[in-house]
Protein backbone atom coordinates (compact mmCIF):
# COMPACT_ATOMS: atom_id res chain seq x y z
CA UNK A 1 0.00 0.00 0.00
CA UNK A 2 1.93 2.99 -1.22
CA UNK A 3 1.18 6.17 0.61
CA UNK A 4 0.03 8.81 -1.73
CA UNK A 5 1.54 12.22 -1.21
CA UNK A 6 -0.68 14.13 1.10
CA UNK A 7 -2.16 17.10 -0.71
CA UNK A 8 -4.57 18.83 1.57
CA UNK A 9 -6.54 20.75 -0.96
CA UNK A 10 -8.45 19.21 -3.81
CA UNK A 11 -7.38 22.29 -5.69
CA UNK A 12 -5.09 20.67 -8.22
CA UNK A 13 -7.78 19.44 -10.51
CA UNK A 14 -5.92 19.84 -13.75
CA UNK A 15 -4.88 16.75 -15.64
CA UNK A 16 -6.65 14.46 -13.24
CA UNK A 17 -4.06 14.63 -10.51
CA UNK A 18 -6.65 14.46 -7.79
CA UNK A 19 -9.01 12.25 -9.71
CA UNK A 20 -9.76 9.31 -7.47
CA UNK A 21 -8.61 5.90 -8.64
CA UNK A 22 -11.16 4.33 -10.99
CA UNK A 23 -14.10 3.24 -8.98
CA UNK A 24 -15.06 -0.41 -8.89
CA UNK A 25 -18.14 -1.97 -7.49
CA UNK A 26 -17.12 -4.02 -4.47
CA UNK A 27 -19.08 -7.07 -5.63
CA UNK A 28 -17.53 -6.98 -9.04
CA UNK A 29 -14.11 -6.81 -7.43
CA UNK A 30 -14.84 -9.79 -5.19
CA UNK A 31 -16.09 -11.75 -8.19
CA UNK A 32 -13.03 -10.80 -10.19
CA UNK A 33 -10.58 -11.91 -7.49
CA UNK A 34 -12.54 -15.09 -6.95
CA UNK A 35 -12.84 -16.15 -10.56
CA UNK A 36 -9.30 -15.21 -11.48
CA UNK A 37 -8.12 -18.34 -9.68
CA UNK A 38 -8.74 -21.49 -11.73
CA UNK A 39 -9.03 -23.81 -8.77
CA UNK A 40 -11.71 -21.65 -7.16
CA UNK A 41 -13.53 -21.49 -10.44
CA UNK A 42 -13.55 -25.27 -10.63
CA UNK A 43 -14.80 -25.46 -7.06
CA UNK A 44 -17.55 -23.00 -7.86
CA UNK A 45 -18.61 -24.96 -10.93
CA UNK A 46 -18.66 -28.18 -8.90
CA UNK A 47 -20.82 -26.67 -6.19
CA UNK A 48 -23.21 -25.20 -8.76
CA UNK A 49 -23.40 -28.58 -10.48
CA UNK A 50 -24.13 -30.32 -7.19
CA UNK A 51 -26.97 -27.89 -6.57
CA UNK A 52 -28.33 -28.34 -10.09
CA UNK A 53 -28.23 -32.10 -9.69
CA UNK A 54 -30.02 -31.89 -6.35
CA UNK A 55 -32.74 -29.61 -7.66
CA UNK A 56 -33.37 -31.36 -10.98
CA UNK A 57 -32.78 -34.93 -9.78
CA UNK A 58 -36.04 -36.38 -11.23
CA UNK A 59 -35.21 -34.98 -14.66
CA UNK A 60 -31.75 -36.47 -14.75
CA UNK A 61 -32.61 -40.08 -14.26
CA UNK A 62 -35.45 -42.31 -15.42
CA UNK A 63 -35.20 -44.56 -12.38
CA UNK A 64 -36.65 -44.47 -8.92
CA UNK A 65 -33.96 -44.42 -6.22
CA UNK A 66 -36.03 -46.46 -3.79
CA UNK A 67 -37.74 -49.05 -5.94
CA UNK A 68 -35.94 -52.36 -5.76
CA UNK A 69 -35.57 -54.75 -8.70
CA UNK A 70 -34.42 -58.12 -7.47
CA UNK A 71 -34.08 -59.46 -11.01
CA UNK A 72 -30.98 -57.36 -11.66
CA UNK A 73 -28.82 -57.09 -8.54
CA UNK A 74 -25.16 -56.02 -8.43
CA UNK A 75 -24.85 -55.49 -12.19
CA UNK A 76 -21.79 -54.22 -14.01
CA UNK A 77 -22.20 -50.85 -15.74
CA UNK A 78 -24.26 -51.06 -18.89
CA UNK A 79 -26.08 -48.79 -21.29
CA UNK A 80 -29.18 -48.99 -19.14
CA UNK A 81 -27.37 -48.60 -15.81
CA UNK A 82 -24.32 -46.42 -16.37
CA UNK A 83 -22.81 -47.24 -13.01
CA UNK A 84 -24.48 -50.59 -12.57
CA UNK A 85 -26.96 -51.60 -9.88
CA UNK A 86 -26.66 -52.31 -6.19
CA UNK A 87 -27.52 -55.30 -4.07
CA UNK A 88 -31.23 -54.55 -4.34
CA UNK A 89 -31.18 -53.86 -8.06
CA UNK A 90 -31.41 -50.08 -7.77
CA UNK A 91 -29.58 -47.90 -10.27
CA UNK A 92 -26.44 -46.53 -8.61
CA UNK A 93 -26.25 -43.35 -10.64
CA UNK A 94 -29.86 -42.65 -9.78
CA UNK A 95 -29.20 -43.14 -6.07
CA UNK A 96 -26.14 -40.92 -6.22
CA UNK A 97 -28.19 -38.21 -7.92
CA UNK A 98 -30.91 -38.37 -5.29
CA UNK A 99 -28.29 -38.76 -2.56
CA UNK A 100 -27.10 -35.25 -3.41
CA UNK A 101 -30.30 -33.94 -1.86
CA UNK A 102 -29.74 -35.86 1.35
CA UNK A 103 -26.11 -34.76 1.60
CA UNK A 104 -26.84 -31.08 1.00
CA UNK A 105 -29.78 -31.06 3.37
CA UNK A 106 -27.80 -32.65 6.17
CA UNK A 107 -24.61 -30.75 5.42
CA UNK A 108 -26.18 -27.32 5.32
CA UNK A 109 -28.61 -27.65 8.19
CA UNK A 110 -26.09 -29.22 10.54
CA UNK A 111 -23.26 -26.82 9.72
CA UNK A 112 -25.33 -23.64 9.64
CA UNK A 113 -27.11 -24.35 12.89
CA UNK A 114 -23.94 -25.33 14.69
CA UNK A 115 -22.08 -22.35 13.19
CA UNK A 116 -24.79 -19.92 14.25
CA UNK A 117 -24.92 -21.18 17.81
CA UNK A 118 -21.18 -21.77 18.14
CA UNK A 119 -20.20 -18.38 16.74
CA UNK A 120 -22.66 -16.56 18.96
CA UNK A 121 -21.25 -18.35 21.99
CA UNK A 122 -17.64 -17.70 20.98
CA UNK A 123 -18.31 -14.05 20.23
CA UNK A 124 -20.06 -13.51 23.53
CA UNK A 125 -17.32 -15.25 25.47
CA UNK A 126 -14.53 -13.30 23.81
CA UNK A 127 -16.26 -9.93 24.02
CA UNK A 128 -17.36 -9.98 27.62
CA UNK A 129 -14.50 -12.00 29.07
CA UNK A 130 -14.44 -12.65 32.80
CA UNK A 131 -16.98 -15.07 34.16
CA UNK A 132 -18.96 -15.13 30.91
CA UNK A 133 -15.84 -16.36 29.14
CA UNK A 134 -15.15 -18.94 31.82
CA UNK A 135 -18.71 -20.24 31.78
CA UNK A 136 -18.98 -20.57 28.01
CA UNK A 137 -15.55 -22.13 27.69
CA UNK A 138 -16.35 -24.70 30.36
CA UNK A 139 -19.56 -25.57 28.53
CA UNK A 140 -17.48 -25.96 25.39
CA UNK A 141 -15.04 -28.19 27.23
CA UNK A 142 -17.90 -30.34 28.41
CA UNK A 143 -19.24 -30.58 24.85
CA UNK A 144 -15.81 -31.56 23.60
CA UNK A 145 -15.46 -34.21 26.26
CA UNK A 146 -18.50 -36.03 24.88
CA UNK A 147 -17.36 -38.35 22.12
CA UNK A 148 -19.50 -37.52 19.10
CA UNK A 149 -20.33 -41.06 18.13
CA UNK A 150 -21.44 -42.06 21.60
CA UNK A 151 -23.54 -38.94 21.86
CA UNK A 152 -25.27 -39.81 18.63
CA UNK A 153 -25.77 -43.41 19.69
CA UNK A 154 -27.34 -42.14 22.86
CA UNK A 155 -29.68 -39.79 21.06
CA UNK A 156 -30.52 -42.39 18.42
CA UNK A 157 -31.15 -44.94 21.14
CA UNK A 158 -33.57 -42.57 22.81
CA UNK A 159 -35.48 -41.21 19.83
CA UNK A 160 -34.48 -43.46 16.93
CA UNK A 161 -32.58 -42.67 13.74
CA UNK A 162 -33.54 -40.48 10.83
CA UNK A 163 -32.40 -37.33 9.09
CA UNK A 164 -33.50 -35.07 11.94
CA UNK A 165 -31.42 -36.93 14.47
CA UNK A 166 -28.41 -36.99 12.16
CA UNK A 167 -28.63 -33.24 11.65
CA UNK A 168 -29.04 -32.62 15.35
CA UNK A 169 -26.24 -34.96 16.34
CA UNK A 170 -23.73 -33.72 13.79
CA UNK A 171 -24.70 -30.09 14.36
CA UNK A 172 -24.42 -30.50 18.10
CA UNK A 173 -20.96 -31.98 17.70
CA UNK A 174 -19.86 -28.96 15.66
CA UNK A 175 -20.85 -26.29 18.16
CA UNK A 176 -17.81 -26.63 20.38
CA UNK A 177 -15.34 -26.33 17.52
CA UNK A 178 -17.10 -23.29 16.07
CA UNK A 179 -17.27 -21.65 19.47
CA UNK A 180 -13.58 -22.22 20.06
CA UNK A 181 -12.55 -20.91 16.66
CA UNK A 182 -14.76 -17.86 16.91
CA UNK A 183 -13.60 -17.14 20.42
CA UNK A 184 -9.94 -17.33 19.46
CA UNK A 185 -10.38 -15.11 16.45
CA UNK A 186 -12.58 -12.65 18.31
CA UNK A 187 -10.07 -12.39 21.13
CA UNK A 188 -7.38 -11.31 18.71
CA UNK A 189 -9.68 -9.00 16.72
CA UNK A 190 -10.78 -7.43 19.99
CA UNK A 191 -7.27 -6.10 20.56
CA UNK A 192 -7.53 -3.85 17.53
CA UNK A 193 -7.82 -0.12 17.97
CA UNK A 194 -11.00 0.03 15.98
CA UNK A 195 -12.82 -1.91 18.66
CA UNK A 196 -11.77 0.72 21.19
CA UNK A 197 -12.66 3.37 18.63
CA UNK A 198 -16.12 1.83 18.33
CA UNK A 199 -16.49 2.05 22.06
CA UNK A 200 -15.30 5.63 22.01
CA UNK A 201 -18.11 6.65 19.68
CA UNK A 202 -20.68 5.18 22.03
CA UNK A 203 -21.44 1.83 20.43
CA UNK A 204 -23.23 -0.70 22.59
CA UNK A 205 -21.76 -4.11 23.31
CA UNK A 206 -24.00 -5.72 20.73
CA UNK A 207 -23.09 -3.25 18.06
CA UNK A 208 -19.39 -3.69 18.73
CA UNK A 209 -19.74 -7.44 18.57
CA UNK A 210 -21.73 -7.41 15.35
CA UNK A 211 -20.10 -4.58 13.40
CA UNK A 212 -16.54 -4.39 14.73
CA UNK A 213 -15.60 -7.89 15.83
CA UNK A 214 -17.76 -10.32 13.88
CA UNK A 215 -17.05 -9.18 10.30
CA UNK A 216 -13.32 -9.14 11.03
CA UNK A 217 -13.28 -12.56 12.62
CA UNK A 218 -15.60 -14.19 10.13
CA UNK A 219 -13.57 -14.68 6.92
CA UNK A 220 -11.24 -17.37 8.31
CA UNK A 221 -14.28 -19.14 9.73
CA UNK A 222 -15.83 -19.32 6.30
CA UNK A 223 -13.27 -21.99 5.48
CA UNK A 224 -14.24 -23.87 8.61
CA UNK A 225 -17.88 -23.70 7.67
CA UNK A 226 -17.45 -24.94 4.13
CA UNK A 227 -15.06 -27.66 5.24
CA UNK A 228 -17.61 -28.49 7.89
CA UNK A 229 -20.14 -29.29 5.18
CA UNK A 230 -17.77 -31.90 3.80
CA UNK A 231 -17.05 -33.15 7.29
CA UNK A 232 -20.72 -33.52 8.08
CA UNK A 233 -21.33 -35.47 4.87
CA UNK A 234 -18.55 -37.80 5.97
CA UNK A 235 -19.97 -37.99 9.47
CA UNK A 236 -23.34 -38.91 8.09
CA UNK A 237 -21.69 -41.75 6.17
CA UNK A 238 -20.21 -43.07 9.38
CA UNK A 239 -23.55 -42.89 11.16
CA UNK A 240 -25.30 -44.65 8.30
CA UNK A 241 -22.78 -47.45 8.66
CA UNK A 242 -23.67 -47.83 12.30
CA UNK A 243 -27.30 -48.06 11.32
CA UNK A 244 -28.37 -44.84 12.99
CA UNK A 245 -28.00 -42.57 10.03
CA UNK A 246 -30.47 -41.84 7.34
CA UNK A 247 -33.19 -44.53 7.29
CA UNK A 248 -32.71 -47.36 4.87
CA UNK A 249 -34.47 -46.63 1.62
CA UNK A 250 -33.52 -42.95 1.47
CA UNK A 251 -30.44 -42.72 -0.72
CA UNK A 252 -27.41 -41.39 1.12
CA UNK A 253 -23.86 -41.49 -0.16
CA UNK A 254 -22.42 -42.65 3.10
CA UNK A 255 -24.90 -45.45 3.36
CA UNK A 256 -24.14 -46.50 -0.22
CA UNK A 257 -20.40 -46.69 0.43
CA UNK A 258 -20.96 -49.05 3.26
CA UNK A 259 -23.71 -50.99 1.52
CA UNK A 260 -21.24 -51.73 -1.25
CA UNK A 261 -18.54 -52.97 1.10
CA UNK A 262 -19.31 -56.71 0.81
CA UNK A 263 -18.99 -56.44 -2.99
CA UNK A 264 -15.77 -54.46 -2.96
CA UNK A 265 -13.82 -57.13 -4.86
CA UNK A 266 -16.54 -58.13 -7.31
CA UNK A 267 -17.96 -54.72 -8.10
CA UNK A 268 -15.99 -51.90 -6.49
CA UNK A 269 -18.12 -49.28 -8.22
CA UNK A 270 -20.83 -49.87 -5.63
CA UNK A 271 -18.68 -48.18 -2.99
CA UNK A 272 -16.36 -46.24 -5.21
CA UNK A 273 -18.96 -44.21 -7.08
CA UNK A 274 -20.64 -42.66 -4.02
CA UNK A 275 -17.17 -42.26 -2.48
CA UNK A 276 -16.08 -40.18 -5.43
CA UNK A 277 -19.28 -38.19 -5.14
CA UNK A 278 -18.44 -37.38 -1.51
CA UNK A 279 -14.93 -36.44 -2.53
CA UNK A 280 -16.14 -34.10 -5.26
CA UNK A 281 -18.57 -32.41 -2.90
CA UNK A 282 -15.97 -31.93 -0.16
CA UNK A 283 -13.40 -30.65 -2.65
CA UNK A 284 -15.90 -28.28 -4.23
CA UNK A 285 -16.97 -26.76 -0.94
CA UNK A 286 -13.40 -26.44 0.32
CA UNK A 287 -12.38 -24.60 -2.81
CA UNK A 288 -15.35 -22.27 -2.59
CA UNK A 289 -14.54 -21.59 1.05
CA UNK A 290 -10.92 -20.73 0.32
CA UNK A 291 -11.92 -18.63 -2.65
CA UNK A 292 -14.52 -16.61 -0.76
CA UNK A 293 -12.09 -15.97 2.06
CA UNK A 294 -9.42 -14.71 -0.30
CA UNK A 295 -11.89 -12.55 -2.15
CA UNK A 296 -13.77 -10.87 0.68
CA UNK A 297 -11.01 -10.40 3.21
CA UNK A 298 -9.99 -6.76 2.80
CA UNK A 299 -6.67 -7.43 4.48
CA UNK A 300 -5.67 -9.61 1.54
CA UNK A 301 -6.77 -7.04 -0.99
CA UNK A 302 -4.10 -6.11 -3.43
CA UNK A 303 -1.97 -9.04 -2.29
CA UNK A 304 -3.68 -11.58 -4.47
Amino acid sequence: MADKPESAAPAIDAAGITAAPPHHSEWRRIARVYFSRKLYLIGFILVVLIFVVAIFAPLLTPYNPIKTDLTSIVREPSAAHWLGTDQLGRDILCRIIYGTRTSLLIGFSAVFSSAAIGMLMGLTAAHFGGWVFALIMRITDALMALPGIILVLLIAGLVGGGIGVVIFALGFGGIAGMCRMMCGLALSVKQNDYVMAGRSIGMSNWRIMLTQIFPNAFPPLMVGITMGIGGVVLGEAGLSFLGIGVEAPTPSWGGMVFDGQPYLLDNPLLSLAPGVAIMILVFGFNMVGDGIRDAVDPRLRGVL
Binding site: D3, Y194, A197, I201, T211, P298
Partner: protein, 329 residues
Protein backbone atom coordinates in the same frame (compact mmCIF):
# COMPACT_ATOMS: atom_id res chain seq x y z
CA UNK B 1 -15.12 30.93 29.58
CA UNK B 2 -17.04 28.23 31.29
CA UNK B 3 -15.64 25.05 32.72
CA UNK B 4 -16.45 22.01 30.56
CA UNK B 5 -14.43 19.32 32.22
CA UNK B 6 -13.16 19.24 35.77
CA UNK B 7 -11.12 16.18 36.68
CA UNK B 8 -10.22 15.92 40.34
CA UNK B 9 -7.82 13.50 41.97
CA UNK B 10 -8.31 10.77 39.36
CA UNK B 11 -6.65 7.51 40.31
CA UNK B 12 -6.55 4.59 37.92
CA UNK B 13 -4.69 1.50 39.04
CA UNK B 14 -3.84 -1.65 37.16
CA UNK B 15 -3.49 -4.95 38.91
CA UNK B 16 -0.76 -6.88 37.16
CA UNK B 17 1.02 -10.12 37.92
CA UNK B 18 3.99 -8.11 39.13
CA UNK B 19 2.15 -5.76 41.41
CA UNK B 20 0.03 -2.67 41.51
CA UNK B 21 0.61 -0.09 38.78
CA UNK B 22 -0.61 3.36 39.66
CA UNK B 23 -0.93 4.55 36.09
CA UNK B 24 -2.77 7.70 37.07
CA UNK B 25 -2.26 8.67 40.66
CA UNK B 26 -4.28 11.66 41.65
CA UNK B 27 -4.48 13.55 38.38
CA UNK B 28 -6.45 16.78 38.33
CA UNK B 29 -7.01 19.01 35.37
CA UNK B 30 -9.55 21.43 34.03
CA UNK B 31 -10.68 22.24 30.53
CA UNK B 32 -12.63 25.37 29.66
CA UNK B 33 -14.94 25.72 26.73
CA UNK B 34 -13.07 26.23 23.48
CA UNK B 35 -9.71 25.80 25.16
CA UNK B 36 -6.82 23.81 23.76
CA UNK B 37 -4.94 21.87 26.39
CA UNK B 38 -1.69 19.98 26.06
CA UNK B 39 -1.05 16.92 28.19
CA UNK B 40 2.66 16.23 27.91
CA UNK B 41 4.89 13.49 29.21
CA UNK B 42 7.08 10.64 28.12
CA UNK B 43 5.78 7.23 27.12
CA UNK B 44 4.19 5.32 29.95
CA UNK B 45 3.63 8.30 32.24
CA UNK B 46 -0.12 7.79 32.30
CA UNK B 47 -1.33 10.35 29.76
CA UNK B 48 -3.41 7.91 27.75
CA UNK B 49 -4.70 6.17 30.84
CA UNK B 50 -5.87 9.51 32.17
CA UNK B 51 -8.02 10.35 29.17
CA UNK B 52 -9.22 6.78 28.72
CA UNK B 53 -10.32 6.93 32.35
CA UNK B 54 -12.19 10.15 31.74
CA UNK B 55 -14.05 8.46 28.89
CA UNK B 56 -14.40 5.28 30.97
CA UNK B 57 -12.71 3.20 28.30
CA UNK B 58 -10.23 1.56 30.65
CA UNK B 59 -10.39 -2.21 30.32
CA UNK B 60 -11.71 -3.53 33.62
CA UNK B 61 -10.01 -5.79 34.72
CA UNK B 62 -7.01 -5.33 34.87
CA UNK B 63 -7.66 -1.60 35.28
CA UNK B 64 -9.74 0.06 37.92
CA UNK B 65 -10.64 3.65 38.57
CA UNK B 66 -10.22 3.74 42.31
CA UNK B 67 -10.86 7.37 43.11
CA UNK B 68 -11.62 10.76 41.71
CA UNK B 69 -14.41 12.73 40.12
CA UNK B 70 -14.84 13.69 36.50
CA UNK B 71 -17.27 16.55 36.26
CA UNK B 72 -18.42 16.94 32.69
CA UNK B 73 -20.83 19.83 32.29
CA UNK B 74 -21.39 19.62 36.01
CA UNK B 75 -22.20 15.90 36.10
CA UNK B 76 -19.90 13.36 37.69
CA UNK B 77 -19.70 10.92 34.80
CA UNK B 78 -17.56 8.46 36.73
CA UNK B 79 -20.80 7.55 38.50
CA UNK B 80 -22.25 6.28 35.23
CA UNK B 81 -21.92 2.65 34.20
CA UNK B 82 -18.89 2.37 31.86
CA UNK B 83 -21.04 0.80 29.16
CA UNK B 84 -24.40 2.09 30.24
CA UNK B 85 -26.72 4.18 28.13
CA UNK B 86 -25.78 7.46 29.83
CA UNK B 87 -22.08 7.02 29.19
CA UNK B 88 -22.68 5.87 25.62
CA UNK B 89 -24.80 8.91 24.95
CA UNK B 90 -21.82 11.08 25.92
CA UNK B 91 -19.13 9.12 24.11
CA UNK B 92 -19.01 9.94 20.45
CA UNK B 93 -21.49 12.78 20.77
CA UNK B 94 -20.25 15.18 23.43
CA UNK B 95 -16.87 13.68 24.12
CA UNK B 96 -14.89 12.15 21.31
CA UNK B 97 -11.46 10.77 20.77
CA UNK B 98 -8.88 10.68 18.03
CA UNK B 99 -6.56 7.74 18.30
CA UNK B 100 -2.86 7.47 17.74
CA UNK B 101 -2.81 4.85 15.01
CA UNK B 102 -4.83 5.88 11.98
CA UNK B 103 -3.85 2.63 10.27
CA UNK B 104 -5.67 0.48 12.80
CA UNK B 105 -8.34 2.74 14.23
CA UNK B 106 -10.78 2.25 11.39
CA UNK B 107 -12.66 -0.99 10.94
CA UNK B 108 -11.05 -2.53 7.84
CA UNK B 109 -14.15 -4.33 6.61
CA UNK B 110 -16.56 -1.41 6.63
CA UNK B 111 -16.62 1.46 4.16
CA UNK B 112 -15.75 4.94 5.33
CA UNK B 113 -19.38 5.85 4.71
CA UNK B 114 -20.63 3.15 7.06
CA UNK B 115 -18.26 4.20 9.80
CA UNK B 116 -19.11 7.89 9.72
CA UNK B 117 -22.84 7.48 9.25
CA UNK B 118 -22.84 5.01 12.13
CA UNK B 119 -22.10 7.83 14.58
CA UNK B 120 -24.65 10.14 13.04
CA UNK B 121 -27.36 7.51 13.13
CA UNK B 122 -26.37 6.50 16.63
CA UNK B 123 -26.39 9.94 18.21
CA UNK B 124 -28.29 12.33 15.99
CA UNK B 125 -30.97 9.91 14.83
CA UNK B 126 -30.38 10.89 11.22
CA UNK B 127 -31.86 8.78 8.45
CA UNK B 128 -29.50 7.06 6.04
CA UNK B 129 -29.66 9.67 3.30
CA UNK B 130 -29.18 12.66 5.56
CA UNK B 131 -26.34 10.90 7.35
CA UNK B 132 -24.62 10.23 4.07
CA UNK B 133 -24.95 13.84 3.00
CA UNK B 134 -23.53 14.98 6.31
CA UNK B 135 -20.70 12.43 6.10
CA UNK B 136 -19.68 13.77 2.70
CA UNK B 137 -19.80 17.29 4.08
CA UNK B 138 -17.60 16.22 6.99
CA UNK B 139 -15.07 14.61 4.69
CA UNK B 140 -14.93 17.82 2.71
CA UNK B 141 -14.39 19.77 5.92
CA UNK B 142 -11.35 17.68 6.78
CA UNK B 143 -9.96 18.01 3.28
CA UNK B 144 -10.51 14.60 1.74
CA UNK B 145 -10.48 15.21 -1.99
CA UNK B 146 -13.29 13.81 -4.13
CA UNK B 147 -15.30 13.05 -1.01
CA UNK B 148 -18.45 11.93 -2.86
CA UNK B 149 -16.61 9.02 -4.37
CA UNK B 150 -14.02 8.32 -1.72
CA UNK B 151 -16.70 7.87 0.91
CA UNK B 152 -17.52 4.43 -0.48
CA UNK B 153 -13.91 3.31 -0.23
CA UNK B 154 -12.52 1.03 2.41
CA UNK B 155 -9.89 2.18 4.91
CA UNK B 156 -7.12 0.28 3.14
CA UNK B 157 -7.63 2.50 0.12
CA UNK B 158 -6.68 5.54 2.22
CA UNK B 159 -3.20 6.64 3.22
CA UNK B 160 -2.30 7.12 6.87
CA UNK B 161 -2.79 10.86 6.81
CA UNK B 162 -6.10 10.53 4.99
CA UNK B 163 -7.29 7.99 7.51
CA UNK B 164 -6.43 10.35 10.32
CA UNK B 165 -8.54 12.97 8.55
CA UNK B 166 -11.39 10.49 8.54
CA UNK B 167 -10.84 9.95 12.26
CA UNK B 168 -11.00 13.70 12.76
CA UNK B 169 -14.19 13.85 10.70
CA UNK B 170 -15.67 11.17 12.96
CA UNK B 171 -14.56 13.05 16.04
CA UNK B 172 -16.27 16.29 15.01
CA UNK B 173 -19.33 14.62 13.48
CA UNK B 174 -21.70 15.45 16.33
CA UNK B 175 -20.19 18.81 17.27
CA UNK B 176 -18.74 17.52 20.52
CA UNK B 177 -18.00 19.63 23.59
CA UNK B 178 -14.55 18.16 23.97
CA UNK B 179 -12.17 16.18 21.79
CA UNK B 180 -9.33 14.09 23.17
CA UNK B 181 -6.55 13.59 20.69
CA UNK B 182 -4.25 10.81 21.87
CA UNK B 183 -0.93 11.38 20.11
CA UNK B 184 -2.86 12.27 16.95
CA UNK B 185 0.19 12.93 14.83
CA UNK B 186 2.74 10.46 16.15
CA UNK B 187 2.12 7.88 13.47
CA UNK B 188 2.27 10.17 10.46
CA UNK B 189 5.20 11.91 8.85
CA UNK B 190 6.24 15.41 9.76
CA UNK B 191 4.69 17.33 6.89
CA UNK B 192 1.41 15.55 7.38
CA UNK B 193 1.67 16.23 11.11
CA UNK B 194 1.67 19.95 10.54
CA UNK B 195 -1.27 19.75 8.15
CA UNK B 196 -3.30 17.65 10.54
CA UNK B 197 -2.57 19.94 13.47
CA UNK B 198 -3.55 23.02 11.50
CA UNK B 199 -6.68 21.24 10.37
CA UNK B 200 -7.63 20.22 13.88
CA UNK B 201 -6.99 23.67 15.22
CA UNK B 202 -9.08 25.22 12.48
CA UNK B 203 -12.00 22.86 13.04
CA UNK B 204 -11.87 23.20 16.79
CA UNK B 205 -12.14 26.97 16.45
CA UNK B 206 -14.90 26.68 13.91
CA UNK B 207 -17.17 24.48 16.01
CA UNK B 208 -15.97 26.04 19.27
CA UNK B 209 -15.06 22.82 21.00
CA UNK B 210 -12.34 22.10 23.51
CA UNK B 211 -9.37 20.01 22.55
CA UNK B 212 -7.01 18.04 24.73
CA UNK B 213 -3.87 17.06 22.86
CA UNK B 214 -1.99 14.23 24.48
CA UNK B 215 1.55 14.06 23.25
CA UNK B 216 5.16 13.42 24.12
CA UNK B 217 6.15 15.97 21.53
CA UNK B 218 6.62 19.38 23.05
CA UNK B 219 6.77 20.97 19.62
CA UNK B 220 3.23 19.89 18.92
CA UNK B 221 1.75 21.62 21.93
CA UNK B 222 4.02 24.66 21.95
CA UNK B 223 2.29 26.14 18.96
CA UNK B 224 -1.29 25.24 19.68
CA UNK B 225 -2.04 24.66 23.33
CA UNK B 226 -3.15 27.51 25.56
CA UNK B 227 -2.44 25.63 28.75
CA UNK B 228 -0.14 22.71 29.37
CA UNK B 229 -0.09 19.93 31.92
CA UNK B 230 3.18 18.04 32.29
CA UNK B 231 2.84 14.50 33.58
CA UNK B 232 5.44 12.26 35.14
CA UNK B 233 4.90 8.77 36.55
CA UNK B 234 1.15 9.09 36.83
CA UNK B 235 1.05 12.61 38.26
CA UNK B 236 0.81 16.16 37.04
CA UNK B 237 4.12 17.74 37.98
CA UNK B 238 3.66 21.14 36.42
CA UNK B 239 0.80 23.02 34.86
CA UNK B 240 0.31 26.48 33.54
CA UNK B 241 -0.24 28.69 30.53
CA UNK B 242 1.80 27.72 27.53
CA UNK B 243 4.04 30.80 27.61
CA UNK B 244 4.79 30.26 31.29
CA UNK B 245 5.72 26.62 30.81
CA UNK B 246 7.97 27.32 27.86
CA UNK B 247 9.24 30.68 29.11
CA UNK B 248 9.71 30.00 32.79
CA UNK B 249 9.58 26.30 33.50
CA UNK B 250 9.83 25.64 37.23
CA UNK B 251 9.79 21.89 37.68
CA UNK B 252 13.15 20.15 37.15
CA UNK B 253 11.49 17.61 34.87
CA UNK B 254 9.98 20.23 32.58
CA UNK B 255 13.27 22.06 32.49
CA UNK B 256 15.00 18.82 31.57
CA UNK B 257 12.47 18.15 28.83
CA UNK B 258 12.97 21.58 27.30
CA UNK B 259 16.75 21.25 27.41
CA UNK B 260 16.59 18.01 25.50
CA UNK B 261 14.75 19.51 22.54
CA UNK B 262 16.85 21.03 19.75
CA UNK B 263 16.02 24.64 18.99
CA UNK B 264 15.84 26.20 15.58
CA UNK B 265 18.09 29.16 15.02
CA UNK B 266 20.86 27.99 17.28
CA UNK B 267 24.10 27.59 15.44
CA UNK B 268 24.91 23.97 14.86
CA UNK B 269 27.37 22.59 17.34
CA UNK B 270 27.40 25.58 19.64
CA UNK B 271 25.18 24.02 22.25
CA UNK B 272 24.90 20.40 23.19
CA UNK B 273 21.53 18.89 23.95
CA UNK B 274 21.26 18.00 27.60
CA UNK B 275 19.45 14.74 28.12
CA UNK B 276 17.66 13.85 31.33
CA UNK B 277 19.87 11.20 32.86
CA UNK B 278 18.42 7.88 33.86
CA UNK B 279 15.23 6.15 32.87
CA UNK B 280 11.64 6.76 33.75
CA UNK B 281 10.73 4.76 36.84
CA UNK B 282 9.03 1.44 36.83
CA UNK B 283 5.49 2.20 37.91
CA UNK B 284 5.12 -1.06 39.81
CA UNK B 285 5.12 -0.61 43.59
CA UNK B 286 6.55 2.88 43.58
CA UNK B 287 7.89 4.54 46.68
CA UNK B 288 5.94 7.42 48.15
CA UNK B 289 8.69 9.95 47.46
CA UNK B 290 8.93 12.06 44.33
CA UNK B 291 9.30 9.72 41.38
CA UNK B 292 11.59 12.09 39.55
CA UNK B 293 13.95 12.47 42.49
CA UNK B 294 16.44 9.75 41.38
CA UNK B 295 17.00 11.63 38.11
CA UNK B 296 16.78 15.12 39.49
CA UNK B 297 19.79 17.45 39.50
CA UNK B 298 18.21 19.77 42.00
CA UNK B 299 17.15 17.27 44.63
CA UNK B 300 17.58 18.17 48.27
CA UNK B 301 17.50 16.14 51.46
CA UNK B 302 13.83 16.92 51.94
CA UNK B 303 12.96 15.15 48.68
CA UNK B 304 14.21 11.86 50.07
CA UNK B 305 12.41 12.16 53.38
CA UNK B 306 9.00 13.47 52.52
CA UNK B 307 6.32 12.16 50.19
CA UNK B 308 5.68 13.52 46.74
CA UNK B 309 4.75 17.19 47.22
CA UNK B 310 1.32 18.55 46.44
CA UNK B 311 0.99 21.10 43.64
CA UNK B 312 1.85 24.60 44.77
CA UNK B 313 1.34 27.87 43.00
CA UNK B 314 4.44 29.59 41.64
CA UNK B 315 2.87 32.11 39.28
CA UNK B 316 -0.33 33.13 37.60
CA UNK B 317 -2.16 29.82 37.06
CA UNK B 318 1.26 28.19 37.25
CA UNK B 319 1.62 25.19 39.56
CA UNK B 320 4.43 22.78 40.26
CA UNK B 321 4.83 19.71 42.38
CA UNK B 322 8.33 20.23 43.78
CA UNK B 323 10.01 21.27 47.02
CA UNK B 324 12.84 23.05 45.28
CA UNK B 325 12.55 26.66 44.24
CA UNK B 326 14.70 26.69 41.17
CA UNK B 327 14.17 30.30 40.27
CA UNK B 328 15.58 31.23 43.66
CA UNK B 329 18.69 29.16 43.06
Amino acid sequence: MSLILDVQNLKTYFHTDYGLVKAADGVSFQVNQGEIIGLVGESGCGKSVTILSVMQLIPIPPGRIVAGTVLFQGQDILKYEPNGAQMRAIRGAKMTMIFQEPMTSLNPVLTIARQITEILELHLDMDKLAARERAIELLKMVGVPDAERRIDDYPHQFSGGMRQRVMIAMAIACNPEIIFADEPTTAVDVTTQAQLLELMLDLVRRINTSLVIVTHNLGVVARYAQRIYVMYAGRIVESGPSEEIFGHPQHPYTIGLLHSVPKLGEKHGTKKLVPILGLPPNLINMPATCAFMPRCEHRIARCQQEPWPELRQVGDQHYISCYVDIRGK
